[in-house]
């Protein structure tokens, strides 16, 4: 469940996760028996749930769609939880430490409008068409070729993401707790394999909801105690301005008028078009990993309400992610009492030996540190290897804050929340993979005549196979570090063209099957092409992002925007010269050709539009408040 992280961090923090493997004498935290007990109970609980749900996952509808009987609350929490993994938590806490509340864009404009759009406009189509997957919708709208292309690319992405996710979890556990990579990978893979194989999507959803509660139970203490220690929000703001000599850490929009005016090197057009529209809408409305959760709702009203409920929780997540990062700026201290300054992963790597037998290259380390704001005397201490002068990366901000406030038991709860995030992320990947593999690859291409129980068996086997391939992919990443950047970038390759295909398919009845397939294909090819172009020629970033001041974050936003435009233009042009489907065949697939089922009257407080409107008001107020 890398969710939105890879697109933004492909060239940044978690893009260099393998670098975290650099040898550290001491892990960040030491677990006590009480902490171990807390973690063990969590593992026991998920296995128990898996065995309990096995008896309720016998038909394909139960196994792949959780029986379509989830309430709006469960589907909504699962929906938002599918994007609340540990990498997201740690990565964005680190980003907040680095960039301030600019990072909040990825939680607000990068999610809320798209979630509301899914609930209000798109969900009826997905739900009424009774499709099992997003590639399934493409099949109905654009035919077999588009489905197969989307299914194969999605399945590949899911399985590789799962592997990278697993490896990333193992690396974090090694850094935070000192656990071996193999131990973390095997334990988590075995637990996920057991509970998802037994209970299918229902089991994955149960664990996502549980993870959501655990994350709040485990991480909420950090901002509460941090604010007490910092002397409220006013105290935090005062200290950050005193330390950093700028108030830009508290403004989301004010400094985005030019690429050079903000530390992310982004422009508001990139945030609005690239993030707020293409990436956000692409992820939240067409990525099957999250859409599958909403499709499991027990009726259309619940399916529409689920993303709207999720939007409220999504707006609250910065409290446990962004705020700890900001608090870290003023509260984290070195053992000698001085303010701790976190640095980039590249600096940590340069100044840390790869293993206990090797030496740090002092010149490399000095050169890397010279680009930071670390005080000169501290740099000298690091170079001489003085005790207590270990460097920490931005990504360590959240674990460091946890260790700062959480004693035995509470620390175990915090670590359990991180593990739960990793595991439910992996479960989400393999359950989505299993559905797409079974319905959109195996069934149309290999065995069209299988019985229902046969497809359930194929689903269970594909989960096991998916976990095994994921473990293999995890080890592959460990031994070929460069692959990680590419695997993480996969996410951004598919999502923008897919959004163009689905939006034009839903809202333009003239869009034709060949156009949908070609638009999807050329959109993916152009996205990959832009990625390779910038990889081979870093100066190309200025071309993609339209400014010499743009930074890698901006490239991700603009690449998505251009890929979307290319796919949309191709679909438009090819549709003009090819024959469209008769309108009668577009019932349930295209907005203007579908009579949506009338919903039973409900009291005003259950009206989806009311809650969506309230969410819009809160969203607007938050953006104005932190302008």
């Amino acid at each position: 469940m890398f969710g939105l992280v890879p697109a933004y961090f492909a060239a940044g923090s978690f893009g260099s996760l393998p670098a975290l493997l650099a040898f550290r004498a001491e892990p960040l935290a030491h677990l006590r028996p009480l902490d171990i007990a807390v973690i063990a109970i969590y593992f026991g609980m998920v296995i128990w749930i898996g065995f309990y749900l096995k008896g309720r996952s016998n038909t394909s509808e139960e196994f792949f769609m959780a029986g379509r009987e989830m309430t709006a609350w469960i589907a909504g929490l699962s929906f938002v939880s599918a994007n609340l993994g540990s990498l997201e938590l740690m990565g964005w806490a680190g980003a907040a430490y680095q960039y301030g509340i600019l990072a909040t864009h990825w939680y607000w404009i990068g999610a809320i409008p798209a979630m509301l759009f899914l609930g209000l406009v798109m969900m009826p189509f997905y739900y009424v068409s009774k499709t099992h997957s997003v590639p399934g919708y493409l099949h109905l709208r654009f035919g077999e070729h588009a489905r197969i292309l989307a299914a194969i690319s999605f399945a590949t992405e899911m399985i590789l993401m799962s592997g990278v996710n697993m490896f990333a979890m193992a690396v974090v556990m090694k850094v935070v707790l000192g656990w071996s990579l193999t131990f973390s990978i095997l334990i988590s893979a075995a637990a996920v394999a057991i509970y998802v194989t037994l209970g299918g999507l229902r089991s994955a959803i149960f664990n996502e909801v549980m993870q959501f509660v655990l994350i709040w139970g485990g991480a909420l203490l950090v901002p509460i105690l941090g604010l007490i220690q910092a002397g409220s929000v006013a105290g935090l703001k005062r200290q950050i301005i005193a330390n950093m000599h700028t108030d830009s850490y508290f403004h989301m929009w004010r400094d985005t008028g030019h690429f050079a005016s903000n530390p992310m090197g982004v422009h508001w057009t990139g945030i609005v078009l690239g993030l707020g529209f293409v990436i956000s809408f692409g992820y939240w409305t067409t990525d099957f990993l999250v859409v599958q959760r909403v499709l499991a709702a027990h009726n259309l009203r619940a399916a529409r309400m689920a993303p709207i409920i999720g939007s409220y929780f999504k707006m609250a997540v910065p409290f446990i992610v962004i705020l700890p990062g900001l608090l870290g700026l003023v509260l984290l201290q070195n053992p000698d009492g001085s303010r701790m300054q976190l640095v980039g992963q590249d600096v940590v790597k340069s100044c840390t030996a790869d293993d206990s037998a090797s030496q740090v290259d002092a010149a490399d380390c000095a050169a890397a540190m010279s680009k930071t704001t670390l005080p000169a005397d501290y740099q000298q201490k690091v170079l001489t290897g003085a005790p207590g002068t270990e460097l920490h990366s931005y990504n360590d901000a959240l674990p460091l804050m946890m260790v700062r406030y959480m004693g035995p038991g509470l620390l175990g709860l915090g670590i359990t929340a991180l593990i739960a995030g990793f595991m439910s992320g992996m479960a989400g990947n393999v359950s989505a993979f299993s559905t797409v593999w079974t319905y959109d690859i195996y069934k149309p291409l290999i065995n069209k005549q299988g019985s229902d129980s046969h497809y359930v068996l194929v689903g269970r086997i594909s989960i096991l196979a998916g976990v095994i391939v994921s473990v293999g992919a995890g080890y592959l990443v460990q031994h070929a570090h460069g692959i990680m950047d590419y695997v993480q970038a996969l996410f951004s390759f598919f999502i923008a063209p897919l959004l163009a295909a689905i939006l034009m398919g839903m809202f333009w009845k003239r869009a034709t099957a060949p156009a949908g397939f070609l638009g999807l294909l050329l959109g993916i090819v152009s996205s990959v092409g832009m990625f390779i172009y910038v990889k081979m020629n870093p100066a190309g970033l200025a071309t993609i992002a339209l400014s010499p001041d743009a930074k890698p974050m901006a490239e991700n936003l603009y690449r998505a925007w251009w890929a979307f435009c290319i796919a949309a233009i191709v679909i438009f042009l090819v549709s003009l010269v090819t024959k469209p489907k008769p309108v009668a065949e577009l019932d349930g697939l295209c907005y203007s050709c579908t009579v949506l089922p009338k919903q039973e009257p409900v009291p005003f407080y259950k009206n989806v539009w009311l809650w969506a409107l309230l969410a819009v008001c809160i969203f607007a107020a938050l953006n104005i408040l932190f302008w």
């Binding site: 909801v209 549980m210 509660v213 105690l225 959480m406 004693g407 709860l413």
Partner: protein, 72 residues
């Protein structure tokens, strides 16, 4: 969870109740013995007691409200 069977909220209640009791228990032990973990900040707030108590209370509420067999 719609339909029959044990609701997810019951599982969550069980987990929170167990965690709450464990953390609260440790907090009471900490308070009684006066032995606080080194390097942990704000131990004077006795966080394990009130946070553990909160988790336990929430867990108990969910266990009772969503216990198997209870009509919804």
């Amino acid at each position: 969870m719609h339909g029959s069977g044990i609701p997810i909220w019951f599982f969550i209640g069980v987990l929170l109740l167990i965690y709450g009791v464990m953390i609260l228990g440790y907090g009471v032990f900490e308070l009684a013995t006066g032995s606080y973990p080194p390097l942990v900040e704000l131990t004077n707030l006795h966080t394990p007691i009130w946070w553990g108590g909160l988790l336990a209370a929430l867990g108990l509420l969910y266990v009772v409200k969503f216990r198997p067999g209870r009509a919804s």
